[in-house]
Amino acid sequence: MRRIVAILLLIILAVGISLSLAKIPFGTPKTKVGKYYINEGIEETGAVNIVTSVVVNYRGFDTLGEVTVLFIAAIGLGAVLTTSVKGETRKIQPASLVLYTGCRLLFPLILIFGSYIFIHGHLTPGGGFQGGAIIASGFLLIYLGCRERRINRIASNLAESLGGLTFVVIGLLGLVFGGYFLLNFLPKGIANTLLSAGIIPIIYIAIGFKVGSELASIIDNLIEES
């Protein structure tokens, strides 16, 4: 009986969702603000990648909130895991030769790729969050391949704090120079070059360092505990 009711509810839910999704015309411009970003974004912010100009410039304050959420999650995980009782140190089984060599070969390339993604966030797809996640996946590879290695906690905490501090200080400098938080006070430069778009590349590099070190330290905390 309960199963029949559950199946009926699921069918009603599926029909409702598919009917309402069928009403949405995908791919056609809907809002005025979207058109505004596409038409005026490059002119106003200097960033060729419109997504970046929205994330860091038009909605920069939201991004600061997002970074704060990630920061609190990492801190909370660290606090929960370090209070639990440490188990006995188990014997670490070394990785196979193929994995060891492969991870040592790939790790610097992944780091360079992640840095490229967040440094060129205003020119090509990607940005601080994506680059940071790629760098953290590189550290995950190191944990898989070279099992006795650990990240330097002091260095990762320093990178994390400096990243967050840079973001807030640049926002406050905008308040000092122009009167509102996160104002793009630096010169825009020529669009489609590396040194353009004012504060956007600086903020995205700070976010890249912050997200990368945070996600790497989350993995480090979990592996230490397991």
């Binding site: 797809p125 994506q130 996640a133 790629i134 953290a136 996946s137 995950l140 993995i219 979990l222 397991s226």
Partner: protein, 78 residues
């Protein structure tokens, strides 16, 4: 277009497999496959920014965190 439909069917299969596998490691691998195909589909929908984040976080980091948790608990579901 046929390729996209093939990917969608593969993604649905992986999602159903993730929910019915008794071996939790296999279920995590199937869930990571769902994320990986989702990132390819995001790329086809012209959202490369989202595709990158989905591939790095959904396919790599989330799967790793689940596997670490499974190593600490039980591998097989009752």
């Amino acid at each position: 277009m046929i390729f996209v439909f093939f990917l969608i069917i593969l993604m649905l299969t992986a999602a159903i497999a993730a929910s019915i596998f008794r071996d939790l490691i296999s279920a995590v691998i199937a869930a990571a496959l769902v994320s990986l195909i989702a990132s390819i589909l995001f790329y086809f929908l012209q959202a490369p920014d989202v595709a990158m984040a989905e591939a790095a976080i959904g396919a790599a980091l989330t799967a790793a965190i689940f596997i670490i948790a499974i190593r600490r608990t039980e591998r097989y579901e009752e």
